[in-house]
Symmetry: C2
Subunit: 179 residues, 2 copies
DNA sequence: ACCCCACAGTTGAAGCGTCAAGTTGTTCCG
DNA sequence: CGGAACAACTTGACGCTTCAACTGTGGGGT
């Protein structure tokens, strides 16, 4: 097992500025390992099984859960924690592969809706169970039911710290007010 | 708070292939939010405070913890969970900024050692306390001591799943044996 | 000695995400 | 009703990571 020294500087400066406790250091070393490896593993799994990224899967998946299988770009972006710009690029790619189509909304022509095509939906049905298996295998099978609940609670509390109001995608273009 | 529907396909296929329980879904939705937002937050914090990425900080930090403030490239890569290629590029950049220097080892000329310069070390001393503050603020201050230990245990168990033997960087170039 | 192969690292192109700057379209408001 | 402000996107360039190929070195075998 490769040791992971994790952003904790061994040199203790003169005035210790509220350092981490030993227990916290242990927790942090292990946790940050998970933060790196788990997303990588999920992505690699997706690419191997389906030939596209975990994020693309997520986008298709979110679309599939809506009634019309379609969403405005900005809603899709915020649901997947992505910037609008990123979503635009991703949808362009997905469009190229024929899994999603774009269309401007009739009632508000600023809005572009991304819609899951039948091909995209079929793909998803094929791939989803395997992905769920992977998640279960990598995460939940390693944990007791109590730990699963602990994880939920811990995650919720940390999320609240990360994103108190709930607004996420680091704010997009905002025109500067000229004096 | 934006709801995050998380890779869980609403359409239940004919034969449910061992789905996730409701509790597991809750845990997964929250946890995957953390998986996305926390790395982003750490990186953003680092860029704002120091002008470089969290990963670069990590590299400098790991070097600073060694006796000689230097490591072979491959060791540095595996300690930071990076590929050798990535590390090579990163060290090139860090070298350009004057924080790290490269030198080929005398006893084994295949080996390149990356060494933290005095400037790099000074930088680290300046930046580290603020980073630790951020980690504590975003993670540990949100948790009770018991939860901190739970997080450590959960992380360790998941890590073992992700990386049973401990070998990580998804294997680099391996020359193909011709028949 | 010689050859083969594994090891350690580098390099360049391709892919994806971010950032800043556009383009339309809509609303607010005097 | 006319323009300023803003909202919803798109686009292009740039930076970082990965991937595949490449260079150079160090052991073994035979």
């Amino acid at each position: 097992m490769t040791l992971q020294l994790w952003g904790i500087l061994a040199v203790v400066t003169a005035e210790p500025p509220r350092w981490l406790t030993a227990a916290q250091q242990n927790a942090w070393i292990a946790f940050s390992g998970v933060l790196i490896k788990l997303p990588y593993a999920l992505d690699a799994d997706m690419r191997a099984k389906a030939g596209f990224s975990h994020f693309e899967y997520l986008v298709l998946s979110v679309l599939s859960e809506t009634a019309e299988r379609s969403l405005p770009m900005s809603r899709l972006a915020s649901l997947t924690n992505a910037s609008l710009s990123r979503m635009s690029h991703v949808v362009t790619r997905l469009e190229g592969k024929g899994w999603v189509s774009r269309s401007t909304s009739v009632d508000n022509r600023r809005i572009t809706r991304a819609t899951l095509t039948d091909a995209g939906f079929a793909l998803l049905v094929e791939v989803a169970p395997g992905h769920v298996d992977t998640v279960r295998h990598l995460v939940f099978d390693a944990l007791t039911p109590e730990q699963q609940e602990q994880l939920a609670a811990i995650s919720a509390q940390v999320l609240e710290r990360l994103d108190p109001g709930g607004e996420w995608p680091p704010h997009e273009t905002r025109r500067i007010a000229e004096p």
